[in-house]
Amino acid sequence: MIELDKVTKYYLTKLGKKYVLRDVTFTIPEGRDVAILGPNGAGKSTLLRLLGGIDFPNKGTIRSNKRISWPLALASGFQGSMTGRENVEFVCRVYGNRQIAKTCDFVQAFSEIGDYFELPIKTYSSGMKSRLAFALSMAFDFELYLIDEITSVGDASFRKKCAESMAEKRKNANVIMVSHDMSTLRKQCDMAIVLQDRQLHFFDNVEDGIKQYQC
């Protein structure tokens, strides 16, 4: 469960304040898989960051009692000058995972990047980066995964592995997902939030949300 209480979020630009959310009070219910829909630039990724606790509202509060993942985006949160291993070690330490060597082995095997694991992230291709990002997130068990357009990582076999691993996680965890691929959302989610006119609109099933979003 995540509670948003009178949340206002804006960005200061040269053209004044650009609002993403305006005085939003909303509760994301427990045990649901949420699709977030909205036009480009409406602030879906910002909403995800707010829910993940790595961005903060200008007014209001966001409360949660869940272990929430970092937003799993295509390739962010890596320090380019550090090697894959160093990045994984860093995240382990930050999240209090004491089994650093085991986690590294797991991530290296899962991501299938081989000895690139020992090279700086800046030498990676974007595909390798996102595979590492996905593998790293699979090495931790969160109660709520925030997923930002990361479902189409790598080749067919890797995607299959991702889907299997994610399904395993989903037994004990929920997702909040941003995607422009409606079939993914239909398959993965059981409710929808449409971000429109700086407000959040709740839909009890994904189909209604998609209808609202597409009209």
Partner: protein, 267 residues
């Protein structure tokens, strides 16, 4: 995939989280500072050694018998060490958040942790280089002895608080007005020449004191010398002034941080 991380997870209180994050950032800083170069930690020593040699050559010619009752290299050493501590702390804290911005992607990493990690690293480098140079002097046959080591450590702590706070204030100033980086660059340029590294305030005519005496780093350098060199006394440096500068800048830095820390994370 039988990998089950749940069993490795442990409950942490906020203090333990902060300790873990600072440790992780500290290791990261250590690797990026020294891991990428072939000579690694040697470069931490190279900077103060080069300064001592260059200034000793320039100023040692004039004052062959030494400054302030000690040989020139020792005199330069007691000036350059606190100054480099100040300069490095200031620059490192000024850029602490911008250099680690990508890591705020993980919710436990907060800006204060990046400052803490860098301060710990800089303190470590200071102690390491100070002791190494001290040993080098001793090995080279100079008369070295620390007169009052606790007093020196107190000055180092006060200077650390001042430099860190000043660096934090600068980082917020740059966040609000990016131009202030240019201004601070100009402001810091002459610091090396007005902080008493190769002179004491007694050597400067009395009428110019009024301009120099405002510089807290000058006070720190003079007081550090007074603690280090047995017969060195500074009539002008004031421990009270250094203490006030440290306290006031710490207060401003903490206030700015409390009010605006989220701006350091926002992209």
């Amino acid at each position: 995939m039988s990998f089950q991380p749940a069993q490795y997870r442990i409950q942490r209180n906020p203090f333990q989280v902060m300790r873990d994050v600072i440790f992780a950032l500290f290791l990261r800083e250590l690797k990026t500072r020294f891991g990428t170069y072939r000579l690694g930690v040697f470069w931490a020593l190279a900077e103060p050694i080069a300064h001592v040699i260059i200034f000793s050559v320039i100023f040692g010619v004039r004052a062959r018998e030494g400054f302030g009752g000690v040989e020139t290299p020792i005199f330069i050493y007691t000036g350059i060490m606190p100054f480099l501590l100040f300069q490095n702390l200031f620059n490192q804290c000024k850029n602490a958040c911008s250099a680690n911005r990508g890591l705020f992607h993980y919710r436990y990493v907060k800006p204060i942790n990046t400052y803490c990690a860098r301060v710990i690293l800089e303190m470590g480098i200071f102690l390491f280089t100070s002791v190494s140079l001290f040993a080098l002097f001793w090995w080279a046959g100079y008369q070295v002895a620390i007169y009052d080591i606790l007093y020196c450590l107190m000055i180092v702590v006060l200077l650390t608080i001042f430099a860190t706070s000043f660096g934090m204030i600068a980082s917020f100033a740059i966040e609000f007005f990016p131009e202030s980086d240019k201004f601070l660059g100009i402001l810091m340029k002459p610091m090396m020449f007005i902080s008493g590294i190769f002179f004491t305030l007694d050597m400067i005519p009395e009428k110019y004191h009024v301009y120099l005496i405002w510089n807290p780093v000058l006070h720190a350098v003079e007081l550090f010398r007074a603690g280090f060199i047995e017969n060195f006394t500074s009539d002008h440096a004031s421990l009270w002034y250094l203490f006030c500068c440290a306290l006031v800048s710490l207060f401003i830095a903490m206030r700015l941080y409390r009010m605006h820390w989220t701006r350091m994370i926002a992209t």
